[in-house]
Every structure is written in C-alpha cells, then in structure tokens.
C-alpha cells in the first residue's frame, strides 16, 4: 500500500480543501490545481514497460505538447487516459473525483475527455453536419435517438463548431469526400461537440500541407483556455510554433518538462530525441 493508495485523491483531498462543497462521486470536480493527474503509472505488455512510473499533471486551460521518440509511450498514455488500456499500477484522476482507471471508455468520453485520433476516423458515409450530430454531447440512448429530433439550438451549435474549424461551407458534403486536412478538422469539431474539458490530440498535422498546418496551429491555440488541450506530435517546428509547456517522454516516463526553449537545451533531451532528428 503506497501513500497514494491509502489517501486516495477522491476520498481525502475534497473534504480537506476549505470552502469547497463536497462533491458527488461521478461528477467532475475541477476545483483542484490540475484537471488531470497521472501518478506513478506503469503499463507493461508481456514484460515490456510501455509506461514506467509516469507522473504527469495537466492544468485547466493549458495547451500541453507531448513529444518523444517512437515507443516512448505517448499513445499508451493516451490509451490509459481514455480507458482503452488499464494501468498495472498507479492512479489516473480526472479532476478531483473521477478515477479514470475504473471508468469505461464510454463513461470517460461522457465525463469530458475527448480524443482526436492520429488517423482521421470520421464517418465517411455521413455528411460533415451529420458527423457532428453523431458526436454531439447529449443522451445517447436508442429511444432518444429515435424520438428526439435535433433542436434549432443544437443545429446552431453544430454550425458554429463547423465555423470554428472552417468547414461550414462543406456542411452537406460527405465526410469521405473531404480532403485529408479537412477530415482532421472535422474530427476536431466532432471532439468539440462532446463539450470536452480535456482534449487529447494525437498527431494532428500528419500529412497536412503547410497552409493546413498553420490553420491547425491557430485552431489548437484558440481552443486552449476554454479547454485543456494535450497534443502529441513529432513535428518540432509545429510544437515550437504552438507550445507553452512541453513534456518529453522517454521509455515510458517523463524525461523533461518545461518551456520549449529550456527543454530544447536540456542535454538529456538532445541526446535521446532532438539529437536524433537534428
């Protein structure tokens, strides 16, 4: 029993903090300093430690970039946050109360963690607007889906989100017919429709043209503040252009964390990562 197991975040810290109402379990409480707490997380696949005692915190409204060479554990980390992979040890909390290691993928998505996958996975046979309709936060049951039409308010919200990502003109186009970059933005719009507090963005600019990359950088920066955004990306140029805080992963744990300039000059980082890519 480690100290963290004994004094679990959801059971201890809430009542101890002065001035906060006791929070119902299952409800997101962002009263703490951070919105995401990953502590001592270890995940091993057949003896290989994909994550090794990883500890990472994300603040509300922060735009955080995660970099690291292949196999550093970036995707596994995302999988742990979204509930796709269960950690062997360690704790992962969303806000003060939500223990992500005990929630299903669906529950985590509903609680406010949205993930944009590396490969755009929009629904190709649906229009851009219908894609947003599918992604929209709200009741997801079969009978509601049958009997509750989209309200005007929801329609406006969808149109506004399409506007944010610059796809309003393509709203009635089949998503399968959009360009690669447009699909990536549509996917970001879909994640936004889930009203996420934390947005996980996996390699957003892979395969994009220069103009699309610039547009994506602006988009991600505009999303930070209202949402916490966590970007995993290889492209150093891109990270330099958007990042405030950078976390470097190496062999499943945090190698360095800090402002881009500091991290770039860290000898350890240069050795394992930056040095390789030149």
């Amino acid at each position: 029993m480690s100290l963290r197991d004994t004094f679990r975040r959801d059971q201890v810290f809430g009542p101890l903090r002065p001035g906060t109402r006791p929070v119902r379990p299952g409800q997101l409480d962002t009263g703490g300093k951070h919105i995401l707490y990953m502590e001592d997380i270890t995940v091993s696949f057949d003896g290989f430690k994909a994550l090794n005692d990883l500890t990472l915190y994300i603040e509300p409204g922060e735009l955080r970039c995660i970099i690291g060479p292949n196999g550093a554990g970036k995707s596994t980390m995302m999988d742990v946050i979204t509930g796709k992979t269960r950690p062997d040890t360690g704790s992962c909390f969303f806000g003060q109360t939500l223990d992500l290691t005990r929630m299903s993928e669906t529950e985590i998505a509903t609680a406010g963690i949205g993930r944009k996958f590396q490969k755009p996975t929009v629904f190709p046979e649906h229009t851009a607007l219908e894609n947003l309709e599918l992604a929209m936060a709200g009741p997801k049951g079969t009978w509601q889906a049958l009997l509750q039409p989209v309200t005007g308010q929801q329609y406006d919200w969808m149109a506004q989100t399409l506007e944010t990502v610059g796809l309003l003109a393509q709203k009635n186009q089949l998503a399968g017919a959009l360009s690669h970059g447009q699909k990536q933005w549509l996917e970001i719009a879909m994640v936004l429709m889930q009203k996420p507090r934390l947005l996980l963005v996996d390699e957003p600019i892979a395969g994009m043209t220069r103009q699309e990359v610039e547009r994506t950088a602006e988009l991600l920066q505009s999303l930070a503040g209202e949402h916490s955004v966590m970007v995993v990306e290889h492209d150093m140029e891109f990270i330099r252009s958007i990042a405030n805080t950078v976390t470097v992963l190496h062999q499943g744990s945090v190698l360095a964390e800090g402002r881009m300039q500091d991290v770039q000059n860290d000898p350890k980082v240069i050795e394992v990562y930056l040095g390789e890519t030149g």
Binding site: T82, E105, T106, A109, T110, R115, T121, F123, P124, E125, H126, L129, E130, E133, L134, A135, A137, K140, G141, T142, A145, L146, L147, Q148, P149, V150, Y155, M158, Q170, Q173, A177, L178, S179, H180, G181, Q182, M190, Q194, G207, T209
Partner: protein, 379 residues
C-alpha cells in the same frame, strides 16, 4: 439536418413511388383475379395470386435483412430462422383452426399428435386457438429470440464473420430441433393441411386475394417504418456503427444497444413475413430453417442493392421470379445460377441493381475543389 417523422416517411417521393407501385400492382392483380372470368385471357389465376403473395413475403424478409445488413453491417446468415418461427406461430394457429376436421377427427389434437399417440395438447400449444394470441407470438417469439441471441452476441462484441457463422449455427440448430417429433411441431412433415383462417377458407380466391393484400400492407408498412427509422438520429447512428463501430463507441454510444435494437426489430419483421407466408403456401416445415434459405436471402439483398430498402424488395422479387422460371425449365441448374449470380453481383455490382441504376442515371460528379486539394496530399 433531416430528422424524419412518420408523416414525411410516408409522403416523400421514394415512399410514394414505392407504395404506389406496390398497391397499384396488387390492386390490378386482385381485380383481374376476382372480377375477370376464368376463361378470359386477362384472368390472373389464384396460383399467381398466391405466388405474388409469396414474393411479397420474401420481399418483407429481404427488407428485414437489409435493415441489419445494409444499415447496420450485421451479416446475419440465419435470418430464415426468424421467418420460420413466425411461420410456425401462424401454422400453430391454423392447425388449431382445423379442429375435428382432421384425418383422425380428434377435437383438439392435430393429426400428427394423434398419430404419435399423444394424450393431450402440450402446454406451449395452448392459446394458439386465438388469432390475437397467435399474432402476438408471431412477433414475440422471433423478437425474444433475437433479443437474447443479440444481447449475448453483441455484448461479447462478436462481429463480422464470427457473427455470421453463429447465426448460421442458430438456424441450423433450430432446424435439427424442429425435425424431432418429440418437440411437438410435427417433425419433418411440419404443419400442413390448413383449412381456414379467421373462418375464411384458404381455398377461396377471395381469401387468397385478402392474404395478398395483407402481405402488401405489411410490406408497405414495414417500408415506411424502416424509412422513418433510418431517417432519424437512430438510423444515422446505426449506419455509423456499421462504418466505424469503435469510433461510435468512443463517442459515447453503447453500440451493442443499437445493434440489438435494429436486430430485434428486423427479427420481428421477418417473423411477420413468415406468418403471412405460411397460409399462402399452405405448409411450414423445418426445411424453412435450412441455412440455404438464409443464404439465398442474402443473395436477394445483394442483387437488389444494400441500404436502400427498396433495393432489397426489388432483389427479392426478381431473384424469386427468376427462381420460379428457372426451376420450371431447368430445376437442376438453379443452384448454379444462384451461385453464379452471387459471384457476379459481388464482383461487378457491389451496390446491386439499385447502385447500377443510380450510376447510369446520374452523370459522373464534376471534380470539385476538395478533389483538387487532395492532390497535395503526400503519397
């Protein structure tokens, strides 16, 4: 964003055309059968009336399969089982209607039970003398089976070819079970020698026409219902599950619930089709559970074109008409023709006849701005 309600599903152009052709054709056949004297060249025989009724039942079955296969991507190779169960429920009602007019003249027991020296009616035969009860069972039995089966399968995330195989196993197991005399459904002879339905003799032309009209109403109703459902958020979610299930799950949809919903509805529709089929062909036996039937059904939908609803209907009617003609001329070659048809459609017409018609009618889309942008993509 289109969220259709029942009114729009009933009045949009496709529905109007479909219902117009369906009821127009049925009305003409009915009038030519009932009003034109048998000597006239325009007379439509009662055989043809029942044949058409049979096609409409097959069309309804194909529509049911299209809902799960075309819209939800679940390739069920056992949908004939739900059809046959609905048929058996109707058959049991029709057996009870025979009363003491059977060969052995027993007041309650059907002939095959007397033949097997059974003393009394098994418990599960009770209630089937009531038409209303039997009709509830027509929907309930396939529905409950599909619900339980689907719940187990979808919850365990059985998909793709594995699901196809277990649906096939389901219908095969039911076929073997229904072949057994002990089960109390007439063994390999099934249920037959029906006399009348709701007091009307099944030999009367008017009864046959009424059954044809009932089949058309059921098909038309199911078509409108399905169009309504596929036009709602539920329908679009079901299609999303078909195209990218894990993505839909990630968006917070319990995809297994959606699959279960559509699978159960489809089984109920298949059961209704079976119930209308039995009085028109006059027999239901375990052969209806044969896996081959379910595979033929898949061919109908594939030929017509998936995910359009009317494509499944067209496919079912055309292939079965072909079968009627073909088995009359060269019965031994039919299975080869069917196999060849399936291969040809899969290779040359992946969207079926409807897809072919659409591509012929619509000019090729002009390449637009998005296509040009796509050129910049790295290979």
């Amino acid at each position: 964003m289109r969220h259709s309600d029942l009114t729009t599903a009933l009045t949009d152009r496709t529905a109007k055309t479909f219902l117009g052709i369906l009821f127009g054709a049925v009305l003409i056949v009915a009038l030519l059968n009932l009003l034109v004297p048998a000597e006239s060249g325009l007379h439509v025989s009662s055989y043809t009336v029942s044949l058409l009724g049979k096609y409409l039942c097959y069309a309804l079955l194909a529509l049911a399969l299209d809902l799960v296969w075309g819209y939800c991507g679940i390739l069920s190779l056992g949908h004939g089982a739900f059809f046959a169960l609905g048929g058996y429920a109707m058959g049991m009602y029709l057996m009870r209607q025979i009363g003491d007019r059977g060969v052995y003249g027993h007041p309650t027991l059907p002939d095959f039970m007397v033949f097997l020296n059974w003393e009394e009616l098994p418990w599960y035969w009770h209630g089937f003398d009531s038409f209303g009860f039997a009709m509830i069972m027509v929907a309930l039995v396939p529905g409950v089976l599909a619900f339980v089966f689907g719940w187990l399968a979808f919850r365990s995330r059985v998909t793709g070819v594995y699901l196809s195989i277990i649906t096939q196993a389901l219908t095969y197991a039911l076929m073997l079970a229904f072949f057994r005399n002990e089960l109390g459904f007439g063994g390999n002879n099934g249920l037959t020698d029906f006399k009348d339905i709701l007091g009307f003799s099944l030999r009367e032309d008017s009864t046959r026409v009424a059954l044809l009209i009932a089949s058309a109403v059921a098909l038309g109703g199911a078509f409108v219902l399905s169009r309504w459902i596929t036009g709602t958020r539920l329908g679009r979610t079901v299609m999303a599950v078909r195209d990218a299930e894990s993505r839909a799950r990630f968006l917070g949809y319990r995809t297994e619930h959606y699959k279960l919903w559509i699978f159960t509805l489809s089984a109920v529709l298949a059961g209704i089709a079976g119930a209308l089929y039995v009085p028109q062909v006059g027999i239901i036996n375990p052969g209806e559970f044969s896996p081959l039937n379910s595979i033929e059904l898949v061919v109908w939908v594939a030929v017509g074109g998936r995910a359009t609803l009317y494509g499944a209907v067209i496919g079912a009617i055309l292939v079965n008409y072909g079968k009627t003609v073909f088995t009359g001329v060269m019965p031994e070659a039919w299975l080869f023709a069917l196999g060849g048809l399936f291969v040809a459609v899969t290779v040359f017409l992946p969207q079926g006849l409807v897809g072919l018609a659409q591509s012929l009618l619509k000019p090729k889309r002009q390449p637009d701005a998005t296509d040009k942008e796509a050129d910049h993509e790295p290979a």
